[in-house]
Symmetry: C2
Subunit: 393 residues, 2 copies
């Protein structure tokens, strides 16, 4: 029985991971759970899975959690860590073999790094970790021998496609993109889109932040950067194709012109189970894809004019150093501001571009450098936001 730890257990990926663990009863033991402020749900997870170590956002949450557990008559109270330090305790919890990295945003950076340093297999659903600090993470993994396995469906698909191939015989990775809710929308409609419109993702149900990233297609831009580190590829070796049905999760093109694709239903549990059981594949009761009933599949070139975030991400990847961290932080702040209706949808890419242009990229030799760039970009964009309302430039 393999012990696992989940960073972000109350989020979408975290909850699905626990469903997978439950379905594979007996194969995995949940040793540690890291959450934020969703104390009631965490308490429920604790009583069901009985971890030894947990983490919550702050002292107040910790007190609330203790009270919740007491009210439920649960006496096997775990060690409760606080904040990022608490998440790090979850990440390196003793005897854990697999850490699921599913904390949204830059918060997942340090705990993931600690898990990789400690040689744990990290099943990574947090895109930002590799976008911000891909070089540091992959270096840490190499040093300790840790495996880094992708949980988001596109990279997980690439990982599956690459199983039988050698590095030199793969010409290109091709990430599929649903195109989001504005795939066929005009520039003008996109410019003035509301949060309600942007949150209507056509095929996947995910968290708000990722859903907005899908609407701007920054999601795909971030995935290009992530793929660069996961699979050791250059920007030129990573392409994007728009595929509205999200049935083909991603593809690889081989040097001989052959394309290998991974297809499946849009259920994150498939990718989660794959990352947990790799290199084995276990039978699952999850719904399987029936191609004969899934209708027609379409593929288009992405439109970088209506979706400038794609080009911004490629540019940041090519610039390298701290630039992807700035791209990511600027995006996080801009998306949050959009969700709070403080900026227009069309201002998200313009704010990111402005932040990248204002930034002087530094080489990345330690976490402090990227965290400083991250902080710089957050402040820079936050300062610009009051001015941005109503402006179209």
């Amino acid at each position: 029985m393999k012990q696992i730890a989940i960073l972000g257990s109350t989020g979408s990926i975290g909850r699905n991971t626990l469903r997978v663990v439950e379905a594979l009863k007996g194969d995995f033991k949940v040793a540690a759970l890291g959450a934020g402020t969703s104390v009631a749900l965490l308490a429920e997870q604790i009583t069901q899975f009985q971890p030894r170590v947990v983490a919550v956002a702050d002292e107040t949450c910790a007190e609330l959690l203790e009270k919740e557990l007491h009210q439920r008559g649960y006496t096997n109270t775990p060690h409760i860590g606080i904040g990022v330090e608490g998440l790090c305790e979850v990440a390196v919890c003793e005897d854990v073999e697999i850490v699921i990295g599913a904390v949204v945003g830059a918060l997942g950076l340090l705990p993931t790094y600690r898990a990789l340093e400690a040689g744990r297999r990290v099943a990574l659903a947090n895109k930002e970790t590799l976008v911000i600090a891909g070089e540091l993470m992959t270096r840490a993994a190499e040093k300790s021998g840790a495996e880094l396995l992708p949980v988001d469906s596109e990279h997980n698909a690439l990982h599956q496609c690459l199983r039988g191939e050698t590095h030199d015989e793969v010409k290109r990775l091709i990430l599929t993109a649903s195109g989001g809710p504005f795939r066929t929308a005009s520039l003008d409609v996109i410019e003035n889109a509301t949060p309600a419109q942007a949150l209507k993702h056509p095929t996947w149900r995910m968290g708000d932040k990722i859903t907005i990233d899908s609407a701007t297609m920054m999601n795909k831009g971030l995935e290009v950067i992530e793929a660069r580190w996961l699979f050791n590829r250059t920007a030129d070796e990573i392409g994007i194709v728009v595929h509205p049905q999200s049935v083909v999760h991603s593809m690889i093109e081989l040097v001989d012109g052959s394309i290998i694709a991974q297809l499946g239903v849009t259920d994150m549990r498939h990718a989660i189970q794959y990352a947990l059981t790799y290199p084995a594949r276990l039978s699952s009761e999850l719904p399987a894809l029936n191609l004969a009933t899934c209708g027609t599949l379409e593929f288009h070139e992405p439109d970088t004019e209506r979706f400038p975030c794609i080009a911004l991400a490629y540019q940041a990847l090519r610039t390298g150093g701290t630039m992807p961290a700035v791209l990511n932080a600027a995006n996080e702040v801009a998306v949050a501001a959009f969700l709070e209706e403080r900026i227009k949808f069309g201002q998200i890419p313009r704010l990111i571009q402005a932040a990248c242009e204002a930034h002087t990229p530094q080489p990345v030799n330690n976490l402090e450098t990227v965290l400083a760039a991250d902080q710089w970009a957050r402040h820079w964009v936050l300062e610009k936001i009051p001015l941005a309302v109503g402006s179209s430039q």
Copy 2:
């Protein structure tokens, strides 16, 4: 430089193999060429590739060939073998590592068997060999350590999809079928289709026999039987999905619900090159697939009512023994009769079914048994053909 031999060098696969060898200049040397009656083309191939051994259909062809070579001023005359014996000489030609098995029909059986016995890698494009004598062929390959690599696009795709997977973790092979020219035709239109209509294949350009098999969908039925032997699967583990665009060449379904597919352009040279260079993949100048320009992809369940050959093939596979040989022989004779306009298109499956029903299957322990069943079925169907004209039952 690897030496290769081609059984069926003047046919569609043979000619494409020589184009691949030419494109990969320096990697492969053509040591032997086996043909039938296309003497002029064979002479041209001989002057270009300078094989040591060749084969033609009979003495008359051999004399014609010598005359052709003499007229061309070619003095490096190869050894010329005759008929099946000649093809067997091509198959076991000394120092050859790879034999391309591309003779159409049951004629390829013995030479392929000899190549496998001799431990040669066989790149097999002749479906009938495995349909008739799959058990014997795979047993011979196991004994000598010979590799059996599929060249037709569907099985080649399956081979590519299976590269990174273990046998027990693959749930099902899914062969894609274009559906042929009568995919959307009514039973009545199919019943009375002319050779000209049946030869209009929507996506692949192939020989006449295979094109008619595609129109009846017997092609796919034969491929199911072929897949059974190539990949050691039961009939239940092999499915068919109709995919009119022929962009996805085939797929596998894993036990965890994931599907891996191989996609490419409809050019046989891809599969031929793969079988020659495996396990390596070499760069190729062949056209690559551009998904963004290939339109929409559709998938449907096959209709076994309008295409009864599919069910006949599954039934023959499940019965086993000599039954698939009878299915194949009956099909060859019926297709030839149809092309000669001696029977209606709709009578092809009825003749095959009648032959299978009239046959008492025997276990297959040697080539003689299957060849006897093959001969029995050919005579049985030929005898029925005069009676079949104009009948609808």
